[in-house]
């Protein structure tokens, strides 16, 4: 114990030396491939850039001011929040319900668990391409099914109009994200001691009360972490929108991340694109800080 206290105060001990050496490759990797690009994007946001993204001239907040002149920018920003909020909410609700169902002991449970993981285990671009085909107005599975079942002979054009296209894209994001949420919640449910439920039964509580007073409080921390991760991923979900709609029709499914891509790689305006990336970074950082405060407060 005394040795331990002594060692704690020393930066350069025999053990820590090895640790530092082992950390060097990872640190170099992080500095090169994570911190340097982030730093460069911050730099680009304050500079005029060439068509190939090279820094040309310092313009201060010029790129940020330029964003206010882009007519669609505020719509896209607002849509990014709606997209994220709606998708994360549905993923969380579905995730909890599916986890509760998979936590019940019944025959074939393992098969369902395996099937559940499939959307998460598949490559996202391939999944989205499959959904693109599902939504195809002429040859798609969804419209053919609606016709075959005589639900409608004039099924909607899912990706042709702004509102259906937006919700079609959200659904694909939800579909891909549900397995992660379900599995995290399932792991949480299985960690809840059974005797708590038995005690609750003795106290005469019904199923809803069991969920409200036992399950939910004990899942709270996991819900916080899972939704935080989901917010970060959903806000930055480029694949789904880019592959499915490319932001269309008339930019009505664009969110910040696809807009950044458009401005950088299609229009070669790397400065404003970097400014948008900085805004995205700040938004996500703020959300992460709020979440972590909430999480650590509840830990205390």
């Amino acid at each position: 114990m005394i040795d331990g206290v002594k060692q704690k105060g020393h930066f350069w001990t025999t053990e820590s030396k090895l640790a530092y050496v082992l950390l060097i490759p990872g640190t170099i990797f992080l500095l090169l491939f994570m911190f340097y690009p982030i730093f460069y994007v911050f730099l680009m946001s304050l500079f005029k850039t060439s068509k190939l993204g090279k820094i040309v001239e310092f313009i201060g907040l010029g790129n940020f001011k330029y964003l206010t002149k882009i007519r669609d920018f505020w719509d896209v920003l607002g849509r990014s929040f709606i997209w994220t909020g709606f998708a994360v909410l549905i993923k969380t609700l579905f995730g909890i319900v599916i986890a509760l169902l998979l936590n019940v002991d019944y025959r074939g449970r393992k098969v369902y668990r395996t099937l559940l993981i499939l959307p998460w285990a598949s490559s996202v671009p391939i999944s989205v391409m499959l959904w693109q085909w599902v939504y195809n107005a002429d040859f798609g599975l969804l419209n053919q099914t609606l016709k075959l079942l005589h639900i409608t002979q004039n099924p909607p054009f899912w990706l042709a109009y702004p509102i259906p296209a937006f919700f079609a894209a959200i659904w694909v994001d939800i579909w891909i994200g549900i397995p992660f949420m379900s599995l995290v919640f399932l792991a949480g449910l299985q960690a809840i001691p059974k005797d708590l439920y038995e005690a609750a039964v003795v106290d005469g509580v019904n199923a809803i009360q069991k969920f409200r007073f036992v399950t939910l409080p004990l899942l709270k921390n996991l819900i916080v972490i899972a939704t935080l991760l989901s917010i970060l991923w959903t806000f930055n979900d480029f694949n789904t929108i880019y592959i499915l709609t490319k932001g269309g029709p008339i930019n009505t499914t664009d969110i910040l991340i696809t807009f950044i891509y458009k401005y950088s790689f299609n229009f070669l305006r790397f400065g404003p694109a970097a400014a948008m990336a900085v805004i995205t970074f700040v938004i996500l950082l703020a959300i992460s800080i709020i979440y972590s405060r909430f999480y650590f407060k509840s830990e205390e």
């Binding site: 990706l159 458009k262 790689f265």
Partner: protein, 411 residues
């Protein structure tokens, strides 16, 4: 312990020694790379054959073919140039030459005179300030494809096209005419109607430069109003047009659901390749009554980057690429008229589709050559989308687009 250390040390020595030898071998080889556009009709085997043929001819060369869907070539190129890792060559839309001019190596210095002279003079469009910055690999005026089992005489004017479309329209089996309303790398289909109404995207200033945007001219409004009427008033196009790119519309033609569509020679190549069960034929692009016949001429080029470390070998590749050995099978697959004089004499290219394209060449005009064209295209696409979705009138949408384009260009 000592034995293990020796073994590890020996392995390292062997590894580095071997590595040096390999490096030595690689140094003898000239490695060149190309971003290769996956044109409709082109098979992956063709690229393999081209690579094999070139490497057999020049055993000291290695050709890396970076196969890329045409719609993504621009993005890939920007990423590689921005990352200081450009390929030696790339297929580009000729209209991108202004964007990349500073990175391009004029090819004439490295390619034989015989090759340059064999390329059709009219196809050499990538000229800026008198310097040829890239060689054409594909030229194609747009033409019309129509179903001969449904239509006896192809339309001459857009007004004729409408009346034929109304006659043959029988949804959901047959739609009168195809229309794409989803953003694509190029501004189809608007440009067909716009040029057919005698429109030009920009005014030309007295010094020959592109001035203010004129997409909102009477010709532009006429074109977009007509397109919107086809979609929303007469309903002779496939429904949900904002969900269809040029490729999706082409799929409808191939599946037999369209009576007419305007496209490039590649559609003819695919219809032929798919051996479709219905009769079809090419014809000239329609134009509006009172206007002159017109068409869109699209040229793609093979660009050569000044960062290439093997310029001489790139020159040799270009000589090889423009030889009949490569050009004839390449142009046969993609369905474009040949860019070289000698390939143009091949009997394969004396068919109706090629004849129509040669005829259309005489009246066709290209895209405006300007650096901001990608962003301008995007803005016009938005205007078209708004009209199709009933969010703006053609006049308002195009006025707004023209204003945005002028602002973007600092006018």
């Amino acid at each position: 312990m000592i034995a293990v250390s020796l073994l590890v040390a020996a392995s390292f020595l062997l590894f580095f020694n071997g590595g040096t030898k390999e490096k030595g071998k690689a140094a003898e080889k000239a490695e060149i790379s190309i971003i290769w556009a996956e044109y409709d009709g082109l098979t992956p085997e063709f690229a393999d054959q081209m690579k094999k043929g070139f490497e057999e001819k020049y055993p000291n060369a290695t050709l890396t073919v970076i196969s890329t869907p045409w719609n993504q070539v621009h993005d890939r190129l920007i990423t590689s140039l921005g990352g200081d890792n450009p390929p030696d060559m790339s297929i580009i839309g000729t209209r991108w030459v202004l964007e990349f001019k500073d990175q391009l190596e004029p090819p004439e210095k490295w390619v034989s005179k015989a090759t340059i002279d064999n390329i059709q003079p009219g196809a050499k469009e990538a000229v800026v300030d008198g310097v040829l910055y890239a060689l054409p690999d594909a030229i194609g005026p747009r033409i019309m494809f129509y179903r001969t089992d449904l239509i006896d005489t192809p339309p001459v004017t857009f007004e004729d096209m409408l009346s034929i479309a109304q006659k043959v329209n029988n949804p959901p089996d047959i739609y009168g005419v195809g229309m794409s309303g989803k953003k694509y790398a190029e501004l189809t289909e608007f440009v067909y109607y716009f040029y057919g109404a005698g429109g030009d995207f920009f005014e030309t200033t007295s010094d020959g430069k592109l001035g203010k945007c004129t997409v909102n001219s009477p010709a532009g409004v006429k074109a977009l109003t007509f397109m919107n009427d086809l979609v929303n008033k007469y309903k002779v196009t496939q429904p949900g047009v904002t969900n269809y790119t040029r490729d999706d519309t082409q799929d409808l033609m191939i599946s037999g659901n369209l009576a007419m569509m305007m496209s490039g020679g590649f559609t003819g190549a695919i219809l032929k390749k798919q051996n479709v069960s219905f009769g079809w034929a090419p014809s000239q692009m329609p134009y509006f009554k009172g206007s002159k016949p017109s068409s869109l001429l699209v040229t793609d080029s093979l660009a050569f980057f000044n960062t290439s470390k093997n310029k001489e070998m790139v020159g040799k590749f270009l000589d090889y690429f423009y030889s009949d050995e490569v050009q004839i099978p390449f142009q046969k697959l993609v369905g474009f008229p040949p860019v070289t004089k000698t390939a143009g004499k091949d009997p394969f290219f004396q068919t109706p589709v090629y004849k129509e394209m040669v005829k259309a060449n005489a009246v066709a005009k290209g895209w405006p050559l300007m650096a901001e064209w990608s962003e301008a295209t995007n803005t016009i696409w938005d205007a078209i989308g708004k009209v199709f979705l009933g969010k703006a009138s053609p006049q308002d949408a195009l006025d707004d687009a023209a204003k945005q384009i002028d602002t973007m260009r600092g006018m």
